[in-house]
């Protein structure tokens, strides 16, 4: 039996505002529990919300980036349910009139094919607080839940896709694209481990060719691409096994544990769909004018897709390299600064996607914390281009710069890494190598062309050894060819 997977996503994106959506509390991550919870966040009687302009602006920017209709009038509603991380007894959100209407995001799969994922809508809402279930007990030893309301009221947009993805890989490609988009336009810091982007995946399976959708389950709160992919694959497998064994998929919310790679049913939600939404009487409709929208459109930076196309066009990069570089705004900015400093786009791209990326990855830091500045990397590439150092020595220079030994020129000077370009000096060394290895030289001269090719490397190696790698490889080749005739 051949099965088809159908995936839709709901993504919570924390907007990178200084203050909360309805109060003047800070949204900074990592503060002492409840030190950023004001009377409004605590739902003290008599307090009233006042909406944060910046949250509205950031939501509109997202809508513009995905070519969506922006609602000129949007309405906040109350979604009523009781949970201790939500002291008001309702979440302020949007339902009937969300701020961002239908749009689309184009994704590129590993094999290069492109696909459009439709966005159903995106709405503004407040985040809830955090519940800590492990550490607390009452005097009788009964487990207690600790509540930290610092996160309560952090502005979110919830982005809802159509069920357009057909595999875990497509879902992850979409998630990465969305991450790239929201960080590029500066509405979210993108720190997944801090919960700045959280994914709920709706998964169902159906027989290939079926028109109707199967029963779906929702796996909530995945905060890494890796877990998302694993959780989807696990759930698809579970549903297919269940159906093939004669069972039925039950609509439910599931929780995935990345450490154990297992998932379990979280709660049966018989009451869950009865949130009794109604327009929030404490908040007035948000009105956005055409002028507001055009002003925000003008603020949008170049979007990742457009930048990728420009990198291919302007710098002659491959689709793949351009995609990697343009996908992250900070990386793209760094790359362009390196190009400006070095004057060579291809070498710059190789270094940024190669050694720089590998070192950042190993150190687990972002490019904004890269110890080698774009200007220094550009200077180093210039030294490769003008023959001061070879590509091989450049790696040494890069490491030294990374470790804080100064600019490339300082490192080259201090460590004496300048390539030998004085052909007279090089000739002396080559003569010495041939003199020290008379037998090999004789054997070389006697050998046929095919064998010579293999033996040639030995002499190059000896020269490099004596010069500590500082000889210009092209020069060494040419001189050796001449001397070994």
């Amino acid at each position: 039996m051949s099965w088809e997977t159908v995936i839709g996503l709901e993504i919570h994106v924390q907007l990178s505002t200084q203050s909360k959506i309805f109060s003047g509390s800070s949204t900074a991550f990592g503060a002492e529990p409840n030190s950023q919870a004001s009377l409004v966040d605590l739902a003290m009687p008599g307090t009233l919300p006042v909406t944060n302009l910046e949250a509205i602006r950031k939501a509109v920017k997202f809508g513009l980036a995905i070519d969506a209709q922006i609602a000129k009038r949007s309405v906040f509603e109350r979604k009523n349910y009781f949970y201790p991380d939500l002291p008001k007894g309702y979440q302020t959100t949007q339902l009937a009139e969300p701020i961002v209407g239908a749009g689309a995001v184009e994704i590129q799969l590993e094999d290069g094919t492109r696909k459009t994922v439709r966005i159903h809508h995106a709405h503004l809402e407040e985040d809830a607080g955090k519940s800590l279930h492990e550490a607390f007990f009452d005097e009788n030893g009964h487990g207690m839940t600790g509540i930290d309301l610092n996160r309560a009221g952090t502005p979110l947009i919830e982005i809802v896709t159509e069920p357009d993805m057909r595999s875990a890989e497509e879902a992850v490609a979409f998630a990465r694209k969305l991450h790239s988009l929201v960080t590029s336009i500066g509405i979210c810091d993108g720190h997944m481990a801090q919960g700045s982007m959280r994914f709920d995946v709706n998964v169902s399976v159906r027989k290939k060719g079926d028109d109707t959708l199967g029963t779906r389950t929702e796996t909530k709160n995945l905060n890494s691409f890796k877990f998302m992919e694993a959780a989807i694959k696990l759930e698809v497998e579970r549903q297919i096994d269940l159906i093939e064994d004669g069972g039925k998929v039950v609509q439910e919310t599931r929780l995935y544990n990345g450490d154990t790679h297992t998932a379990r049913s979280m709660r049966s939600k018989e009451d869950a769909n009865d949130y009794r939404y109604f327009p929030c009487p404490d908040l007035l409709p948000v009105i956005i004018t055409d002028e507001d929208i055009e002003a925000l459109r003008a603020e949008l930076p170049e979007l990742p897709d457009a930048r990728q196309a420009r990198f291919i066009d302007q710098y002659g990069l491959s689709d793949y390299d351009a995609g990697i570089l343009a996908g992250d705004r900070a990386v793209a900015d760094y790359f362009e600064a390196v190009v400006t400093a070095s004057g060579d786009a291809k070498l710059s791209a190789n270094w940024v996607t190669g050694d720089v990326a590998a070192r950042l990855n190993a150190a687990d830091i972002g490019i904004d914390q890269c110890p080698v500045s774009a200007v220094h990397l550009g200077q180093m590439i210039q030294r490769i281009l003008d023959g001061t150092i070879s590509s091989k020595i450049a790696k040494q220079v890069f490491d030294a710069c990374w470790n804080g030994e100064g600019s490339p020129d300082q490192v080259i000077e201090a460590r004496g890494l300048k390539q030998m370009s004085d052909s007279g000096e090089l000739e002396k060394i080559i003569d010495q190598v041939i003199h020290d290895n008379t037998a090999q030289a004789e054997a070389f001269r006697a050998a046929d062309e095919g064998k010579q090719k293999k033996m040639f490397g030995f002499f190059v190696g000896q020269v490099m050894k004596l010069t500590q790698g500082k000889a210009n490889p092209q020069q060494v080749n040419a001189l050796l060819q001449e001397r070994l005739k």
């Binding site: 203050s19 002492e32 009377l39 607390f136």
Partner: protein, 95 residues
């Protein structure tokens, strides 16, 4: 729209209200008479009236994105029945 005792029990549960079952029949009747009154609205012709989000015909005033609130934990936390390590404690909410 009319409420039956099951629907009443469900709404009460969602609102976390404890109802005495002996009051159920009387409460259902009283709530239904309120619903009947509200139901008269159905007779109004609202075909070309836009849904109202707020009785005042004005738009939301927005505030600048500035942190204006400080840490008031030491003042408000004594009001809570139980706290520890800066957290409010509630009976454990997951199994």
């Amino acid at each position: 729209m009319a409420l039956d005792p099951q629907a009443l029990a469900r709404v009460a549960h969602l609102a976390r209200l404890h109802l005495d079952p002996t009051d159920s029949a009387a409460l259902t009747d009283r709530l239904n008479s309120i619903l009947d009154m509200v139901n008269q609205l159905q007779d109004a012709n609202v075909g070309d009236v836009a849904p109202m989000a707020h009785p005042m015909d004005v738009a939301q005033t927005l505030r600048a994105d500035v942190v204006t609130e400080g840490d008031i934990r030491a003042i408000v936390q004594p009001l809570a029945p139980a706290t520890e390590d800066g957290c409010y404690l509630v009976p454990r909410v997951i199994e």
